[in-house]
């Protein structure tokens, strides 16, 4: 038992620690939902999930914001260049101008999360 633990890498420990508090939803889970709830076959479900996220990605890439009512919206922001620092070396560098994606959750999603905050603090603790 101890032998096995010794061989674990830091990354594996981190994974164990996260999986304790955070269950993770993946594309496979979403595909299974489509299989169960919509009756798509496994192949269709997998393709659908892939296409769904690819369309959102390519829209953002081409300068479109994506609004998914009831869930939230992904918008684009243009950032001007600003001075920064390499956190490893402390060296001053210029962070170039860039376009980034931000997410704003809908009132509905925000409310659902806030309404459940008591249970969430029990489950996840109060870490920032």
């Amino acid at each position: 038992m101890i032998e096995v633990d010794k061989r674990r890498t830091k990354l594996e420990y981190a994974k164990v620690a996260t999986s304790k508090t955070w269950m993770t939803v993946t594309k496979a889970d979403l595909g299974n939902t489509l299989f169960d709830e919509v009756g798509l076959n496994k192949r269709e479900a997998k393709d659908f999930v892939e296409l769904f996220f690819e369309k959102i990605r390519s829209s953002l890439e081409h300068g479109f914001a994506v609004k998914l009512s009831g869930f939230g919206s992904f918008t684009l922001r243009n950032k001007t260049s600003r001075p920064g620092r390499n956190p490893k070396t402390g060296e001053a560098v210029v962070i170039s101008a860039r376009r980034v994606v931000t997410f704003r959750s809908s009132q509905k999603l925000k409310k659902n999360v806030i309404d459940n905050s008591f249970e969430l603090t029990q489950k996840l603790g109060r870490k920032r």
């Binding site: 993946t26 009756g39 869930f71 980034v100």
Partner: protein, 109 residues
Amino acid sequence: MSDSHENQLKQPTLTKSELVVYLTSEQPQLSETDVELAVNSILEHMATALANGERIEIRGFGSMTLHYRPPRVGRNPKTDEKVDVPEKYVPHFNPGANLRKRVNSVNPA
């Protein structure tokens, strides 16, 4: 900050219904009703997961988690009255490397 706000106002938008139309055209074997059902069921699954303290990780897209916000004393900006804002969690999206890179490759609409 102010210029990015203007940017946002000018931004063309893809809505959920447009997404449904597009996905239907790409998946002709599915009816538009089925596609709509599928889109809603993906979003519903993700929203429920977040509200229950699960995280979402979509390779090549990004991940969504909750961030903790400690309780604080806020102020009603109209009446200047103090209000206790209780602790809470808020959804947070972290774009994946692939999305970050594609969005930043200069490619305006």
